[in-house]
């Protein structure tokens, strides 16, 4: 089923484990080398930056080849140009299989670009050519193709697409079932999301499906997010407006609004609580990210204070919480620590961080008339920041 050679994938995992053990000073350098030699990984997997470069270049080649092919054959195919796109998608897919089999590329940028390119070309060609043009058929088609690609290449992006397309099928099926279906749609979507989450938690990623472990984690994150979004008050209200022609005025509410408000506020908190109790990083981080969902939803419908006052107070509270927790967990308590465990990539991380710093903080230049040498960032105390 997998395009990549399984034995090498296993060896690759072993290499990672040996590397980690070496970094934690459990095994010596000689032992690590011995393991690497006994379990070779002939894959071609370059450094991440080279991977980015190869990805970009492959995208360029694919696009210009499509242009070339179109230029040569457009006179021949005329009306059935969708067929040309589908054909080119298949051609790209052929190139992908060839690269993996013959040149042993694995997550090299080339195979990523060819995979995403071939699937999106094939799908867009099919969708444009399809005689039954309903959203449901689109979702079904996307699901079938991306699920195949996810199984064949253990690709995370394809797994996300497959899960969302599957939920999309359910959504459009609900909508077509009349009023009852429409009312039930958010709850059904939530139940389906958590159903897939429960399946992904229980699935055997350790032995038989071990090569898909990362896809499993990604599916967990995706379904946790879709589970929340499908009952988030903001999403439900605006989506009902959009799809069911409710024509709500500002200030008007949807039926059973209280239920959705409860979900909106409780679900992220529940994620965080469960994440801490079970020491589950995915739950914890998703919950923390979704706190933003609570804030955005509340701000959309309830005006409490001017934004700058909210930001100031919010900032103070966040710094306070982080300060207390860092001090409290300085010496590990209940197996929690605020210290970093893996120090190896520290340099890289810090430098990535410094980029983030210069991106998000706008330093105000003195805002004064006549100061227009070039395009200095406008004043306003770094007012670019947003939630």
């Amino acid at each position: 089923m997998l395009a990549y050679k399984q034995e090498w994938l296993d060896n690759k995992v072993l290499h990672e484990e040996a590397e980690e053990a070496y970094k934690q000073q459990c095994i010596s350098k000689e032992e690590k080398e011995r393991i690497f030699q006994a379990y070779p990984v002939p894959f071609y997997t370059p450094n991440i930056y080279i991977r980015i470069g190869l990805f970009l270049l492959t995208v360029i080649i694919v696009l210009f080849s499509l242009g070339l092919l179109g230029l040569m054959f457009i006179q021949l195919v005329k009306e059935s140009w969708q067929g040309l796109i589908i054909f080119f998608g298949l051609l790209t897919y052929g190139a992908l299989e060839f690269m993996i089999r013959e040149t042993k590329h694995h997550r090299s940028g080339v195979d990523d670009a060819l995979l995403w390119g071939s699937i999106s070309l094939f799908l867009s060609g099919c969708i444009m050519a399809l005689p039954y043009n309903t959203p449901f058929t689109y979702c079904l088609l996307v699901f079938v193709v991306t699920a195949y690609a996810a199984l064949r290449f253990a690709d995370t992006l394809m797994s996300i697409a497959a899960v969302i397309a599957l939920l999309g099928c359910l959504f459009y099926a609900c909508i077509n079932m009349g009023t009852a279906g429409r009312i039930a749609a958010p709850l059904l979507l939530m139940i389906a999301s958590y159903g897939i989450y429960a399946w992904a938690r229980k699935w055997d990623w350790k032995t038989k499906w071990r090569h898909y472990q990362l896809c499993g984690s990604i599916i967990e994150i995706t379904t946790l997010l879709t589970g929340y979004l499908s009952v988030n008050y903001l999403v439900v209200r605006e989506a009902s407006n959009e799809f069911f022609d409710l024509n709500l005025e500002p200030g008007q509410s949807i039926p059973a609004a209280w239920l959705f408000w409860i979900f909106t506020i409780l679900i992220p908190l529940a994620y965080i609580a469960a994440g801490i109790r079970k020491k589950n990083v995915i739950l914890l981080r998703t919950g923390l990210v979704l706190i933003a969902g609570i804030v955005i939803t509340i701000k959309q419908y309830h005006h409490m204070a001017p934004i700058e006052l909210e930001m100031t107070l919010g900032g103070l509270v966040m710094i306070g919480i982080a300060y207390i927790l860092i001090r409290y967990l300085k010496t590990p308590k209940h197996n929690f620590t605020s210290q970093e465990i893996d120090n190896t990539h520290l340099l890289e991380k810090i430098q990535g961080e410094s980029l983030v710093v210069s991106e998000t903080f706008t330093v105000p230049t003195t805002p004064a008339p006549g100061f227009n040498f070039g395009g200095g960032t406008g004043g306003g105390g770094g007012a670019q920041g947003g939630w």
């Binding site: 934690q24 393991i35 080649i61 927790l325 395009g375 200095g376 004043g379 770094g382």
Partner: protein
């Protein structure tokens, strides 16, 4: 790390008994680290607080509240600096690791509020009179001083961004192309000067061993500013076209040699991409000059991009091998 994996490796004679015991001990006492979560919360808090205060004070101009707010900003800034100074390790020209995340982020908060403070008092009270350059210069000096004194890469990039803004350029990654008017000749030349300056500062830090780990931040920003300014010059100045293309290639060659020496994949990537843009522009320009734009030229351009793409892929693959081999020595 799964202990049974390492037991299997031990059974195969690849690792020793004591190594397996160490693996077992480590994986049994595995701690759950909240490091990144706490850091992110802290970071967002600093972001929100400094931005909120910055807006707050401008919105409340001419009310009684604004002096209180100004005082609060000054107090936050002073408090942060006091805390950081108290907890900092002795100064050294080599790398001084921070004790934990708190001083790092509070220093950032201190610097940001300080910059807001200076900008605001200049705006409201014009303490520096009409010397606007001076008003911009003081935060700059303070930021650079803090970056070196407290050994903080984030504050260093803030200082560099501020230096660039002082010279008239926006250099934050996502906005460098959007907010600069690269049709302005002054801007192109300023960019070239700034880029060379930053690269020189970076190389000097390493060469003289003064905070050698600052080199990456300097050279990284400098390289992007220099390459983009040179490319803009190439697009803009018709009569100096060949001069600028030589300059791009020369810069690329310089970074190529440096990257080979430092085993830096990152610089390899950016020099490849920037010089590819220059090369493609050259090829298209030559094709346009050589013949009228007809189908033949379009074909040639398409073939060029496919061919050069394949060529560059082989080049990068080869480079990857080369750097990896050198890294082993």
């Amino acid at each position: 790390m799964h202990p049974h994996t390492f037991e299997r490796l031990h059974a195969e004679g690849l690792i020793s008994e004591s190594s397996v015991e160490k693996v077992k001990a480590v994986s049994a006492n595995k701690l759950f680290s909240l490091h990144w979560e706490l850091k992110t919360v802290l970071y967002l808090g600093v972001l929100l607080l400094s931005t909120g205060l910055g807006i707050l004070v401008y919105k409340n101009i001419d009310t009684i509240g604004h002096q209180v707010i100004l005082l609060f900003i000054a107090a936050v800034s002073a408090g942060c600096f006091y805390y950081c100074n108290k907890r900092k390790q002795p100064f050294s020209f080599s790398k001084v690791p921070a004790p934990d995340a708190l001083p790092d982020y509070l220093l950032l908060l201190g610097c940001l509020t300080f910059v807001s403070f200076i900008a605001y008092i200049q705006f409201q009270y014009a303490i520096f009179g009409d010397h606007l350059r001076l008003a911009g210069f003081i935060p700059l000096v303070v930021l650079f001083f803090c970056a070196y004194y407290f050994d903080h890469l984030g504050v260093l990039s803030l200082a560099i961004t501020n230096l660039a803004a002082w010279m008239g350029i926006v250099v934050t990654p996502l906005r460098i192309l959007r907010e600069n008017d690269f049709n302005s000749e002054t801007l192109i030349y300023t960019g070239i000067v700034l880029g060379v300056l930053l690269i020189a500062a970076g190389e000097l830090s390493r060469y003289r061993n003064i905070k050698a780990h600052f080199r990456f931040t300097y050279v990284n920003i400098g390289a992007h500013v220099l390459f983009i300014s040179l490319l803009a010059g190439m697009f803009h100045f018709e009569h100096l076209f060949y001069l600028f293309i030589m300059a791009v290639m020369g810069t690329a060659l310089y970074f190529y040699k440096q990257a080979l020496k430092d085993h830096s994949f990152y610089f390899m990537l950016i020099l490849t991409l920037y010089s590819y843009i220059a090369l493609s522009y050259l090829v298209i320009r030559l094709l346009m000059l050589a013949q009228d734009i007809d189908l033949g030229a379009v074909y040639l351009i398409l073939f060029y991009f496919i061919g050069s793409g394949v060529g560059l892929i082989l080049f990068l693959i080869n480079l990857n091998k080369k750097i990896k081999q050198n890294a082993g020595i």
